[in-house]
């Protein structure tokens, strides 16, 4: 069996197994699984409006997936996408509220602010890893909470007078698109999807076509060998985190400038950053894979909103399925052993 086929079958089997366990849970709890899945599909694609909403949800998922995936390629685990997304969201809205500029300057400035904020937030764990060998997983988790509280604090004290949200951004900083809205029966679809797709290309380009990308991948494969080959491992670790954080910050801009147009005080996380982990894992950290995985999870999330209405099934079922998919991709060794045994048996016959 070819390696390429194996790389494809693990994520596909993980999705199938996730759905299967989800179905079993519904059967055990007495819900109508058939009705649930058809409601899910209806809710994601049944109508051009729903399709628009699905693509809107896919947009930040692509960027969050790129963020996690890019770090993965360098052997780093960026669990901090959620926090980088929150500071990116805040920074983009801040620029969107604070300045009065023509759109041609204002919008790019707000988008870049988000990328810069996310990059800065990811620089911290990158630097600590490179300089002090501190594991990035713990630092990024801790920074998620700092970002959450920092963003809430700034919204309450600096960006508003003790209010629960910032003012709306100026139209000149908005990603909203009457054209795309009109096209999709007034969904909240916005121009962000274009930015996300450009970033997919950027990631592919950096990884496949540049020296930097080659070095990043080399460091991911074997730090010591890269060091011996004369690469600056420390610089590459920091750079990888910074680029990853910039993607995550952009994911925040999608929400801040596109979907919502403001930043709220939050009681908890958005979840997009964590779902980004699922996206990157399922997509095998490859740009195209990430787009496909984001499409899947985006459809699941948007479609799920239709499940309580149409089939009476709690939409949390989809969160369970996503968690299981992560679990099965994580434990892909299990799937690989299973496939190998299967193919060996066939060989004997």
């Amino acid at each position: 069996m070819s390696n390429r086929f194996k790389n494809l079958i693990v994520p596909v089997l993980a999705v199938v197994l996730g759905m299967l366990v989800g179905t079993i849970i519904m059967l055990v709890t007495g819900y109508d699984a058939g009705a649930a899945f058809s409601a899910l599909f209806e809710g994601a694609f049944g109508d051009i409006y729903y399709t628009g909403e699905t693509i809107r949800q896919v947009t930040p998922y692509i960027l969050a997936g790129l963020a996690v995936g890019f770090a993965f390629k360098t052997g780093l685990f960026n669990i901090g996408v959620e926090g980088q997304l929150i500071v990116g969201w805040l920074a983009s809205v801040w620029v969107g509220v604070a300045f009065d500029l023509p759109k041609i300057i204002h919008l790019p400035l707000a988008v870049l602010a988000a990328a810069a904020a996310g990059a800065l937030w990811a620089f911290i764990p990158g630097f600590l890893k490179a300089r002090f060998r501190v594991h990035e997983v713990i630092v990024t988790i801790m920074l998620n909470y700092v970002a959450l509280h920092l963003s809430n604090y700034l919204i309450r004290t600096v960006l508003s007078e003790k209010s629960d949200r910032t003012p709306n951004i100026h139209d000149t900083a908005s990603l909203k698109s009457p054209f795309l809205e009109g096209l999709t029966d007034y969904s909240r679809l916005h121009w962000g999807i274009v930015i996300a797709l450009i970033c997919v290309f950027i990631m592919w380009f950096i990884l496949q076509k540049t020296t930097l990308g080659y070095e990043l991948k080399a460091v991911g494969f074997n730090q010591h060998a890269s060091e011996y080959a004369g690469m600056n491992v420390r610089k590459n670790i920091i750079l990888s985190m910074v680029i990853s954080g910039a993607f995550a910050g952009l994911a925040g801009a999608m929400e801040g400038l596109g979907t919502f147009g403001y930043a709220p005080v939050r009681g908890g996380f958005t979840g997009v950053g964590f779902d980004g982990i699922a996206v990157a894992l399922l997509g095998g950290s490859a740009p195209i894979g990430i787009v496909l995985a984001a499409l899947l999870f985006g459809s699941l999330k948007v479609g799920a909103l239709n499940m309580p209405l149409e089939a009476g099934v709690p939409n949390e079922l989809v969160d369970i399925i996503i968690a299981l998919i992560v679990f099965f991709v994580g434990a892909s060794y299990m799937i690989r052993i299973f496939i190998e045994r299967l193919s060996k048996k066939k060989g004997v016959k």
Binding site: F77, L128, I138, L143, E316, I320, F327
Partner: protein, 316 residues
């Protein structure tokens, strides 16, 4: 004086769940298995305790919260088996598996809440842990008022368990094996220690203690279960374990400190000298301190050497 009474009692209240969960984390990580899933284990513990409590309050009366804790312990242990199977037997990336546990626990418990109660959050429980004056001890002058009045039994159980865990890890043959497996699994294997078995036990213990931690939190602080019941306490417990340098008593100390910080953000506004400090600084204190501790600014913290690496027999 009066102030001190308020501070100590609310610190103890907020610290208890963190202590239990951080001790669980200590077991798991001492054996070499990263457990990012502590948050999820607390979620499932909180969920189980609340549901059990609501269901059996009439049957068990005042004993209900304690029996609910046992239920939370069992379910937490069961969920952690998933993490053990994935990360020990199937060599999954332990962080990925932990993330899956967190996502799964939240999704599953919210799904079941809607299935059982038809709404997004449960009713408030009637039989929660109450403030008590500990008999005899609360009669001691000064100390009795500060430490043993208006407090919770669970906080004292947590502290006692911390000492038990310290004894188990540092004074028993099991503890020696546990540490050996976490430091150098191959050497341990050579000495005839069953690495897989020890790691399974450690991860399941972390699930049991994490479940208790969630159960204590839900039954003494929130009194019901919703999506926001456990919001970061599991990660704070992880932070406490690291800040405490993977030592049970250190973890307990750090958990007490984080409990203090958490409670200050609640009672801070009523304390004269803290009125003017923004809540924000207290909220982020545990996380920033953990980063500083890891960076080595607050004493070097060394993790168990085999932490995060699956043990594959026969590999060198």
């Amino acid at each position: 004086m009066n102030l001190l009474v308020i501070i100590v009692s609310s610190t103890m209240l907020w610290a208890a769940p963190l202590i239990f969960t951080a001790l669980g984390g200590t077991f798991s990580e001492r054996s070499g298995v990263v457990n990012i899933g502590l948050e999820g284990l607390m979620v499932i513990g909180a969920f189980t305790a609340i549901v059990f409590n609501l269901t059996f309050a009439d049957t068990f009366g005042d004993l209900t919260p304690w029996i609910s804790l046992l239920a939370a312990m069992v379910v937490g242990a069961l969920l952690s088996v998933l993490h053990a199977v994935a990360s020990i037997t199937f060599r999954a990336d332990q962080v990925v598996s932990g993330v899956a546990i967190n996502l799964l626990a939240l999704g599953l418990s919210l799904f079941l809440v809607k299935f059982i109660y038809g709404k997004g959050q449960t009713d408030a429980i009637q039989k929660s842990f109450h403030k008590v004056d500990i008999p005899f001890l609360s009669d001691i002058p000064v100390i009795g008022d500060i430490f043993f009045s208006n407090t919770y039994y669970t906080s004292f159980v947590a502290i006692i368990v911390a000492f038990i865990v310290w004894y188990v890890i540092f004074k028993t043959p099991f503890g020696l094996r546990l540490r050996a497996v976490g430091e150098h699994p191959m050497a341990a294997d050579t000495m005839g220690i069953n690495v897989t078995k020890i790691r399974y036990i450690a991860v399941i213990l972390s699930g049991a203690l994490g479940g208790i931690g969630g159960g204590v939190y839900a039954q003494s602080i929130t009194s019901d279960f919703s999506h926001a019941t456990i919001s970061g306490q599991g990660f704070m417990a992880l932070a406490a374990m690291i800040f405490g340098k993977w030592h049970p008593l250190g973890a307990m100390g750090a958990a007490l400190f984080f409990g203090f910080a958490q409670s200050l953000s609640i009672i801070g506004s009523s304390l004269p000298f803290l009125e003017n400090i923004p809540n924000f600084y207290l909220l982020i204190a545990p996380y920033v301190l953990t980063i500083l501790a890891l960076t080595g600014f607050i004493g070097r913290a060394d993790a168990p050497k085999a932490l995060g690496t699956p043990y594959i027999k026969g590999n060198r």
